[in-house]
């Protein structure tokens, strides 16, 4: 049942959406909202939308309270709610308002704000699901789908036409011909498969701050790609001198020391693609994050070879994000730029700090690959 309030609620949500859009750049930089992720919604704190009034500043105001305690005793934090003394429970004041936004909605907002193009899918559209849709009314069908109202109308119409309808005793008896049934059609929903392969350098030079940046960025990449592909899979690879596959949690929290051999990650990536994701039917997105410090020029050359031969031909887009770190030389992105930078399914981005995440998302997703 629909309530009148839903219209107002809708307007409110629209306003909230506008606020999120206006503040998107700020949200993109902030990690705090990531913790408030539900199954498919996320809580976003937005500045309390309030209608301004002439009113007293609460700090100067103070108030009257009730209870135990000596003069000078502190009140427990949170005990004082701004806006008391007026209408209780109105919730006025400097609270942040938390609104639940579905990830899909958030992706749409992200897309609109960053002007992200929709992704051109690759691969055969596989039929994955069939859905029943009720489309009309038929004269035959199973009794469980009988349309009572239509059947009644039909019978009434017939009886009136035949003159057997008696208004004083309005009994309607439907015959076999009067019966109507809901009919359905099977709809086939084409779906495509997609996988993200996250690779991250966890060598000593990648600090917590760098990982935080990767974490935030990956959230937005996830959100956008999930919006584009239903049933998106994610795989996580970490590497220092050797690479291994880990789960999401480990991915973001592992800290190793030691050297960096990027080729190890690319090799693992190549193996996984070959084993699990035939490029004919999968959209594949490897994202690699590192501080750009590789073991040797030889290794870098090896990386580029592998990219050209085994990875780039199979993936939609290969993305490399270089997070600035005080220890890294930042050489790797330059090497990549020289060797594969011209290719149109390679996206390279330098992320200097949290502010740069916004632009970097645009670099990665802006091509609609």
């Amino acid at each position: 049942m629909s309530l009148k309030i839903h219209q107002d609620h809708g307007r409110f949500k629209q306003i909230v959406r506008g606020k999120i859009k206006a503040n998107l750049r700020r949200y993109v930089q902030k990690g705090e909202m990531l913790g408030k992720r539900g199954k498919d919604t996320i809580s976003i704190p937005i500045p309390f939308i309030d209608i301004p009034h002439f009113k007293y500043g609460h700090r100067e105001q103070g108030g009257v309270g009730q209870g135990e305690g000596d003069v000078g005793q502190q009140l427990s934090p949170g005990a004082v709610q701004p806006g008391d003394g007026q209408q209780a429970g109105q919730g006025e004041g400097e609270h942040a308002l938390e609104v639940d936004v579905s990830l899909d909605e958030l992706a749409t907002i992200l897309g609109e704000e960053l002007l992200l193009p929709n992704i051109e899918r690759r691969g055969k559209e596989q039929v994955v699901a069939q859905r029943i849709k009720y489309t009309g009314v038929h004269t035959t069908g199973p009794e469980s789908l009988r349309h009572f109202k239509r059947t009644y109308k039909q019978a009434l119409r017939r009886q009136i036409a035949l003159g057997t309808y008696d208004p004083a005793r309005p009994v309607i008896v439907p015959t076999r011909e009067d019966r109507r049934y809901r009919s359905y059609r099977l709809q086939q929903l084409p779906e495509t498969n997609a996988v993200i392969l996250y690779m991250m350098d966890v060598s000593g030079s990648m600090g917590d701050e760098q990982k935080e940046i990767v974490r935030i960025e990956s959230f937005w990449l996830d959100t956008w790609l999930r919006h584009q592909y239903k049933g998106l899979q994610c795989r996580y690879l970490i590497h220092d001198a050797v690479a291994r596959e880990v789960d999401r949690d480990t991915f973001f929290h592992t800290r190793e020391s030691g050297g960096t051999m990027i080729s190890s990650a690319y090799k693992l990536c190549k193996d996984i693609i070959q084993a699990d994701y035939p490029s004919a039917s999968w959209n594949i997105y490897p994202f690699h994050f590192s501080d750009g410090d590789n073991w040797s020029a030889d290794d870098t050359r090896h990386c580029v070879e592998m990219l050209k031969a085994d990875i780039l031909p199979h993936v939609n887009q290969f993305a490399y994000g270089q997070v600035e770190s005080p220890y890294g030389s930042g050489q790797f992105i330059k090497d990549l730029r020289e060797s594969v930078g011209e290719l149109d399914n390679v996206a390279l981005s330098e992320i200097a700090d949290k502010d740069a995440i916004y632009q970097s998302i645009k670099d990665f997703l802006g091509r609609g690959k």
């Binding site: 309030i5 107002d8 609620h9 301004p52 002439f54 007293y56 103070g62 108030g63 309270g65």
Partner: protein, 497 residues
């Protein structure tokens, strides 16, 4: 959609209503409607009414209420509308004991609405009126578009507390006819006193008198300001004098009417809730409660009465104060003798067995509002017993703390908070400020500064209605400050007060 009561609830209603009348409560016919939690949230978001004009604010309210309910943080117990017949809502899923409690509480409110002096001017057909407002504003939406209307409502609502809370009860401006007469009498200029009648022509020649008369008139003209005296009903002033489109005028007038309708509920919050709580407690504990319901009742009652250190619970303060008054008038603890007695033991044992308590509280609920209620009946003993204190913000420790438990300070803080419904007093002082058609508002500073960012935003809203720059004189940290919004940007300068 709301449904009528089930037979069982209907019986319950009859019984509770009987009890309430038995105690002498006097109310309009009261209609209960049965609603689901979602409907209750909707109605609550609409301020108790089933139909309001379209605005996102209700949506926000609804979102918060729904969330609070879904997370089990809050639950609306009673919702009652000041109307004839009085409407109230019962939530379907509540247990029987809750329904009884709500009914008993509602009859308390209904009695208060009908009898309290401050509600006498309110429209008792407000349900219909609100629906009419909704229809009217919807019609404007169809004509000028939702964006424009909603935007305007935002501005209007931002000024909704700039009304004169006392204007329904007193006459602010003198009768214009009398003022005119005064004017005439002033116009007569006597000239110098003349000892002998035949000397008049010489002492005060006609030209001289004429000159004097002109001088007086000029003086008056110069002094004459517009508005003649500061006007507290800023909304009314804007309605009468701001260049508004017809639709803007209509919407602003509607908002003002609704603000005046709700005003008494704000002015009597403590009394109203106290009175209703007093009666639900009386009715439940003396009549309606079954043995097996006692625990549930006690749980809910104490939940309503719960106090937190940093906030005053109007239910608690109200009920305790009514009980205190009843006891004092029962025992004769009032009047000169009582006031002058400072023998503690005698005071404690004081009981004249007058039994006037019940009569007194009925009288109080008729004639008082929160300010006069607290002013008259909050005694030092009461404040001590109820552990009232003043709290404030300690900047050094960056936290709230208890400042004082002294009775006089507690009382004066409480009264300050309640005065003008907790709103700052803002008046229109000059509509032709600087002789440039600018509006000058003045904040009557009473020791509390305005919240600056809000004040600026609100000023902006006034300016869009006035279509000319708007100024507000206030005081910040003891120094005079004039805020100004000229349609483009804010500015401020120091002023001498």
């Amino acid at each position: 959609m709301p449904r009528g009561l089930t037979p069982q609830l209907s019986d319950l209603k009859e019984t509770i209503e009987g009890y309430a009348r038995g105690y002498g409560l006097d109310f309009f016919e009261t209609i209960f409607e049965l609603v689901t939690y979602d409907e209750l949230n909707m109605v609550a978001a609409y301020g108790g009414f089933p139909n309001r004009y379209p605005h996102w604010r209700w949506g926000m309210e609804y979102e918060q209420l729904s969330k609070g309910y879904e997370y089990g943080l809050s639950k609306i117990y009673e919702l009652v509308i000041n109307n004839d017949p009085t409407y109230a809502y019962l939530m379907e899923s509540n247990a029987e004991v809750d329904q009884k409690l709500v009914m008993a509480h509602v009859y308390g409110h209904a009695d208060f609405f009908k009898n309290n002096f401050y509600f006498q001017h309110t429209n008792r057909r407000m349900i219909d009126e609100m629906a009419n407002h909704a229809t009217r504003i919807r019609r404007w939406v169809d004509k000028v578009g939702i964006e424009k209307v909603e935007d305007f409502i935002d501005r209007g609502l931002s000024l909704e507390n700039l009304i004169d809370y006392h204007s329904p009860y007193i006459r602010r401006n003198p009768d214009p006819r009398r003022a005119e007469e005064e004017d005439k009498s002033n116009e007569r200029v006597e000239g110098f006193r003349v000892g002998r009648e035949y000397m008049r022509g010489f002492v005060n020649p006609t030209e001289f008198l004429e000159q004097q008369r002109k001088k007086v008139l000029d003086e008056k003209q110069r002094k004459k300001q517009f508005p003649e005296r500061p006007q507290r009903d800023v909304l009314l002033f804007l309605l009468e004098h701001a260049p508004l489109e017809p639709w803007e005028f209509d919407i602003l007038a509607t908002l003002r009417e609704e603000a005046y309708y709700f005003a008494p509920q704000g002015q009597t919050k403590i009394m109203n809730e106290g009175w209703a709580s007093y009666w639900h407690s009386k009715i439940m504990t003396q009549k309606a409660l079954k043995d097996e319901e006692v625990v549930d009742y006690a749980d809910h009652h104490s939940g309503t009465m719960g106090t937190r250190p940093g906030a005053l619970n109007p239910y608690k303060l109200g009920i305790e104060l009514f009980r205190d008054i009843e006891e004092r008038w029962d025992k004769g603890r009032f009047g000169k003798e009582w006031d002058e007695c400072d023998d503690l033991r005698a005071r404690r044992a004081w009981d004249r067995k007058l039994g006037l308590g019940r009569e007194k509280i009925f009288e109080v609920r008729k004639h008082y509002n929160d300010v006069t209620f607290i002013d008259t009946f909050l005694t030092a003993e009461f404040a001590l017993e109820q552990k009232l204190f003043v709290y404030g913000f300690n900047d050094k420790r960056n936290s709230w703390e208890i400042l004082d438990r002294e009775f006089r300070k507690v009382k004066s803080k409480l009264l300050t908070q309640l005065t003008n419904f907790g709103n700052p007093i803002i008046e229109v002082v000059d509509a032709n400020f600087d002789n440039r058609g600018e509006l000058l508002l003045a904040h009557k500073h009473d020791g509390q500064d305005l919240k600056q960012d809000y004040a600026r935003e609100t000023l902006k809203n006034v300016a869009t209605l006035w279509h000319r720059p708007v100024n507000l004189v206030t005081r910040v940290e003891g120094k005079g400050l004039a805020l100004r919004f000229d349609g483009q940007s804010h500015s401020e300068k120091k002023v001498e007060l």
